[in-house]
Amino acid sequence: MDFLANLGLGFSVALTPFNLLMAVAGVVMGILIGALPGIGPPSGVALLLPLTFGMSPTSGIIMLAALYAGTMYGGTITSVLINTPGESASVVTCIDGYQMALQGRAGPALGIAAIGSFFAGTVGVVLLMLISPVLARWSLAFGPPETFALMLLGLTTVTLLTGESAVKGYISMVVGLMLANVGFDIVSGEPRFAFGVPELMDGIDFLPVAIGLFGIGEVLAGAEVVGGAAMLKARYGLRDLIPNAVDRARSRWAIVRGTVLGFLVGVLPGAGPTVSTFLSYAVEKKVSKHPEEFGRGAIEGVAAPESANNAAATAAMVPMLTLGIPGSATTAIMLGGLMMWGLRPGPLLFEKNPEFVWGLIASQYIANAMLLVLSTAAIPLFVRALRIPYAILMPLIIVFCVTGAYSLKNSVFDVGQMLVFGIVGYAMKRLGYSPAALVLALVLGPMAERALRQSLIISDAGAAIFFLRPISAVLMAMAFMAVLVPTLRGIAAVMRRKERVAASAG
């Protein structure tokens, strides 16, 4: 089996002292970034990306992937103890996690999340390892129409990220596409929308945009609030974390369901860990024998979403590695990193850079084991970090953002661009738009445009090409469904409201 040989190669790469160190550093920084409100996985990856330029790409991706896994757990600590999510994939955990903490059960809440994260992360890597090579081989047959259909699916499902208004989600996405149009046209070489500014001719770099939207945007949103929220006191000795027999019995299948659901959602291009947590919480409430306990400290309400987000974070790497399409805002930034390291994500990555892909896969096993150790043994340390007043944390994050944006290309223009998008990001957050959709569209835009135009050249300008080829037709149908379903649901909601108004009037 060459599969075992590949895994062996992977571990020989991942177990070198430097790469091990990068995995540990990634997990530790990830837990911290996840735990600290005001800085989440996308800004964490964007800020640390410049640090990886001095290393080999393999060490770089090992650190960033470990960091991503760490953030998924780190957010839990904040959700449970402070009732504010450390990052968006832990929003749901606040509901029952904080209730458990109020009942003096913060320990088991954190414990079950650690166990669920470890299980889901490990199963996620196994699935990633089994599915990716197959998918990569299969997608070698993809032509421009299939690629475009897949990108369209990614762009339409990303709007699932926005809870309140589908229209605003699509607006965010389309504005991202417009920004992606700035710069040299890939086919004709025309410098579009550059207005003679040399920096714009190369296109709008997504990294300063991401650092601004997620880093500065979040900081500004946090700056509104005076002081920090009170933290609950709890005991975090190893023994306090172990869930009791009832907890374990109730959580067992919740963790399994969360893992499966999280992986499925994560594999979809566009929909990432955050969506998976909301879905998995809803599912648990449906299948539970005592749904009335949800919202009052049901342990399934912590176990399932916390498993789902780790599974989804791992699964989001499947489309990134095999198809070159990111499954979430964070993997969109990683994908940008891959391209900056000079690697071409997509099916050929598995053939041309096996040490990179398999090193990453093997390191994910190690990262998950580290995560379990750190998330049980080192909780008091991370809790102490949460005590840093926001008044100190906030300026520090801004300094990281400014230095990070500058160090990308040693350019003050990038810093200015980051700042502008920081203000945009704050406004978007405030008004209910989706920064994640914008970043994803900005990354996918140029690839989608190339695939679209190549397809239309092949077909001699006929749009039928997207619907006559079987794979592309299925993907297009899924993309249309992704637009249609929320639209119909929106219309249904309006009708119901009208009926109610009519009923109360009559």
Partner: protein, 151 residues
């Protein structure tokens, strides 16, 4: 939120139309053997115009003013301070250099909105600015903007 949606809808509609029209005027829509550089911008502009119209119409017809979309007085002032300090920080990078600008920025922002004690503000500023210098300039060899003293 309703008034914000009205303003945003109108502004986005204008941007969308301008974007599509500019693309059509400046760049060819169709090239020799396929879609030209204006092809996608035109359609993207059209889609945004449609979405912006949806947003605008929805907001115009809504009778519910919704939550206020601007933060209240204190919140607004705090954001103003943070934003102002950050803009000044970025503007001064070139003249003062990264290290001095960072230290000044940190003193101001740690001290100001939440009245942290002076010694803490100064200590944070010195430690972080120095660490920033060591990590980026010495370890990563990033030539951060230099000030009058060479750092």
């Amino acid at each position: 939120m309703r008034s914000a949606d009205r303003i945003a809808g109108a502004a986005l509609l204008a941007i969308a139309v301008a974007f599509a029209a500019f693309a059509l005027r400046q760049y060819p829509y169709w090239g020799e053997n396929g879609p030209g550089p204006a092809f996608l911008p035109f359609w993207v502009g059209l889609v945004l115009a449609f979405l912006a119209t949806l947003l605008l119409v929805g907001a115009l017809r809504s009778r519910d003013p919704g939550e206020p979309w601007l933060p209240d007085g204190t919140g607004l002032r705090r954001i103003g301070i943070v934003l102002g300090a950050t803009v000044a920080y970025v503007a001064l990078l070139g003249a003062l250099g990264m290290t001095i600008a960072t230290a000044l920025f940190l003193v101001v922002l740690v001290r100001w909105p939440d009245r942290q004690p002076w010694p803490l503000a100064i200590a944070v500023a010195i430690v972080v600015a120095a660490l920033n210098y060591v990590v980026f300039v010495h370890w990563l060899h990033v030539p951060l903007p230099e000030g009058p003293f060479g750092f």
